[in-house]
Amino acid sequence: MIPRAGKEPAVADRLVTPPDGAPYEAQPRWRHDFPIDAAQDDYVSRRELAKFIVLTSAAFAAGQFWIVLKSVRATLSPPRALRIAAHNEVPVGGAKVFRYPEGSTPRLLVRTGEASYVAYDQQCTHLLCPVVPDVASGRLHCPCHNGWFDLHTGQVLAGPPQRPLPRVVVEVRDDGVYATGVEERTT
């Protein structure tokens, strides 16, 4: 507490700094009853804010390393080849939904010819609606917002999608069609 004029301030009282820096004697009467350490009052809230922002910074850095961890894990254990369909299971012009790797989002296998297949993620890259193949016109259609993709490349032809469909690498073997990898793409 700020002492009254003429009195020697106690050690603890001298630690209290008035905002204008004037001597104790010059301080108004009310400040004697409500002593505030102006320096502390100014800095505490700013320091708390700075601590919170630095904590956010730590969270962002941790997020980056989480991505690194996921990336390394994906590199160390790539998905193994998986038989997704037998030859007689999908007619020419037909399609089959499958999951590769197990537990993934739905993928779409389309038979475009006697021995040619293409496979893409079934979810539209706009708002995840399922795309529908139209083999005759060589396109994949997203009916939700009228998005169109090229059946042979997965690239966007028209509509709101900005990115091509992720492509599943397929391999035609004697006993059926196998998925061997997934190609994520931004362009």
Partner: protein, 74 residues
């Protein structure tokens, strides 16, 4: 030898505000970095994942240094 003049309260306040501004800018930069990295990673581009993580770590280190300076200022 002359002692350096003591930093008065108003000057300290300016320094604190300046540090807060820099720390905030760095955090915004980190947010942008995380968004861009996530976009690239989900698009199959893993080449920038590690450099971006190191850059973000450097930003965090800088922020930590500024916070430490701020704590010692008072």
């Amino acid at each position: 030898m002359r002692r350096p003049p003591r930093v008065v309260r108003a000057q300290r306040l300016t320094i604190v505000n300046g540090i807060l501004l820099v720390v905030t800018l760095i955090v915004v930069l980190q947010l942008w970095l995380l968004t861009a990295t996530m976009n690239a990673y989900l698009g199959g581009d893993t080449s920038i994942v590690m450099p971006a993580a190191l850059a973000s770590l450097a930003c965090f280190g800088l922020n930590l240094g500024l916070l430490r300076y701020l704590m010692r200022l008072g």
